[in-house]
């Protein structure tokens, strides 16, 4: 896995495609076939990274069927690599995609990042969703286990982190990712839209956009948000995929609901400029230890939390 350009990983602009999928519920093979056609379309232009949504090839609300459709990360990565290579030959690409993971009988809502070269899939990272929404319309923790670690990882495009859907709603998560060196946050998501009372957009979409833009601008990171699309039993997945630059600006954004391919160029030099202009991340690095080591924080110490439980 050679870095793009001679200056090292993450130094050169690269080309990105987001595939906003609208899968048929539970029809993994059929959805993979459809993705192969999209990969052929994407391969007509230089593409360094392809990002897909949460549960991109199964649909999101699976209930008990999640146990039938969950895959080992290596097997899922192999399926993606074969789909790419089948239509684009040996052209190298990186792919990030959400899926339901079966890890030795424990089930996670995960995202895999792989580098495809030749016909081989090199899994660089698997992120297991930390925050499983289990309230209202959501019921993830009834079926799935929580991920316990947030890791950043090196790619030929620079250091990245993946945060799945609600993960990024907790501002501490992208904060930790940025402090740990991530310059690119990849956010696969499946967001059921709601809120039609006022405004020109769904309230949930406005909220998402606000979180993504403020997070990108606070830490000086690119955010690639890939949203699942289509109705699932009356619940409309908003799509609304987008790329946000390190200034908080929207580079490209998809409309509601439908299947789309979005394209954008990511220029890592923008990250350095944004951080030099507004050095919040540098300030945070200096103060974070003081904040986190504060003994009043309810963090378990020595096996007990601050309340002594």
């Amino acid at each position: 896995m050679e870095p793009l350009g001679s200056e090292g990983p993450g130094a050169r602009p690269f080309d990105l495609a987001i595939v906003q999928t609208k899968p048929r519920k539970g029809r993994y093979g059929e959805n993979l076939d459809a993705l192969r056609e999209v990969f052929a379309q994407i391969g007509e232009r230089p593409t360094d990274l392809v990002v897909l949504p949460e549960a991109a090839l199964t649909g999101y609300f699976l209930e008990g069927a999640v146990y039938e459709l969950a895959l080992a990360a290596d097997n899922f990565a192999t399926d993606l690599a074969r789909a790419w290579c089948g239509v684009n030959g040996g052209r190298a690409v990186d792919i990030a995609c959400g899926f339901y993971e079966n890890f030795e009988g424990t089930y996670y809502n995960s995202a895999v990042y792989l580098h495809v070269e030749g016909t081989a899939a090199h899994v660089l990272h698997v992120h297991r969703k930390l925050f499983l929404p289990t309230y209202g319309v959501f019921d993830e923790e009834r079926f799935l286990s929580r991920g316990r670690r947030l890791q950043t990882f090196e790619t030929r495009l620079g250091r990245a982190a993946m945060l799945i859907c609600e993960d990024i709603w907790h501002s501490i998560v992208p904060t930790v990712a940025a402090v740990k060196g991530a310059r690119l946050l990849i956010v696969p998501s499946a967001a059921p839209g709601r809120g039609v009372e006022s405004g020109d957009e769904l309230a949930s979409v406005v909220r998402w956009r606000s979180i993504l833009q403020s997070t990108a601008a606070e830490h000086g990171v690119y955010i690639v948000y890939a949203g699942l699309a289509g109705f699932e039993g009356g619940k409309g997945m908003t799509g609304s995929s987008c790329v946000v630059d390190p200034w908080g600006g929207i580079v490209v954004a998809a409309p509601l609901l439908g299947a789309f391919v979005l394209r954008a160029q990511i220029d890592p030099r923008e990250i350095d400029l944004a951080r030099a202009t507004l050095p919040l991340l540098g300030d945070l690095r200096a103060v974070l230890p003081d904040l986190l080591l504060d003994e009043e924080l309810p963090i378990p110490r020595g096996g007990r939390d601050a309340a002594g439980h």
Partner: protein, 282 residues
């Protein structure tokens, strides 16, 4: 002295609606559910002459094309003649396919054996006969029945269980009645239907608000805030009348069963919808 700017509380107004946004969302819902998921492409709607079924027909026509929407008018002998003409105005406005099927013979064919049936029972029979016809027309026309029930009547239990609520898709079920009116105005539903007093038209001179004992505007405002979690005391503090709050609370809490499938005795570790869980679109 500095000018003082007061914060605005939520107040007692009914919920608002961006009707254009809602219409686009619901059209996409109908296309996804009817065409893509079920590969059908046609809808059948019972057109009563009221605003709910009119809005449903308008949405279906936008989503599927008017030629793919079959409106069935199902009058009973005692139905208000204006219901039939109001339904006709929707058909003419949209250019959808229309058929009128009298239900009098079917309803009276049964009720002749039940001469003592009161108005409530007679109304229930009418609603169930209409649904029987709608589903048979669905089979005949290869068209999906589309429901017309709104959130207010669902919450207040103001519908015939497993009759009005049976169609497999329903675009209006998460919109309060006052929001349906907003949507009707946006879609261009004939003004007479938007302005007239809502009625199930199962009895002479019947109106929804008369039956319910509260206006839709007041009920919707209470429901919208009650569902978020505000207590009765908080609602009264916000300016709602205590009698209205109690009436709405009583109706909602007395009708939870109407918003569920039948209660099934659980005996195993594979009880359907208890242990064996699959989404409706799987």
């Amino acid at each position: 002295m500095l000018q003082v700017i007061e914060g605005q509380g939520r107040g007692a107004a009914p919920p608002s609606l961006n009707a254009g946004l809602a219409a686009r969302w619901l059209e996409a819902f109908l296309r996804d559910e009817i065409c893509e998921r079920r590969s059908i492409g046609r809808a059948v709607v019972g057109l009563s002459g009221g605003v709910d079924s009119a809005v449903t027909a308008f949405l279906c026509a936008r989503a599927l094309g008017p030629e793919n929407v079959h409106a069935i008018r199902m009058p009973y002998a005692a139905s208000n003649p204006s219901s039939l003409s109001d339904a006709r105005s929707v058909v003419e406005a949209l250019g959808i396919v229309e058929r009128t099927i009298e239900i009098t013979a079917a309803v009276d064919g049964y009720l002749q054996f039940e001469p003592d049936a009161d108005a409530r029972r007679r109304g229930n029979v009418m609603a169930r006969v209409r649904m029987l016809i709608l589903f048979d027309q669905s089979a005949k026309l290869d068209a999906l029945p589309v429901g017309t029930g709104n959130k207010t009547e669902r919450l207040l239990g103001y519908f015939t269980w497993h009759a009005d609520d049976t169609p497999p898709v329903n675009p209006l079920g998460d919109l309060f009645k006052t929001q349906v009116w907003e949507l009707a105005r946006y879609l261009g539903v004939p003004q007479a239907l938007v302005d007239k007093a809502p009625s199930a038209d199962l009895e002479a001179d019947q109106t929804d608000e008369g039956d319910l004992g509260i206006t839709y505007a007041r009920a919707d405002a209470i429901l919208a805030q009650s569902l978020v979690g505000y207590s009765d005391a908080q609602l009264i503090e916000r300016g709602f009348a205590a009698d209205d709050v109690r009436l709405v609370r009583r109706r909602v809490e007395g009708t939870h069963w109407k918003r569920h499938l039948p209660t099934t005795a659980m005996l195993t570790n594979t009880a359907i919808n208890e242990f064996y869980l699959r989404p409706v679109d799987f």
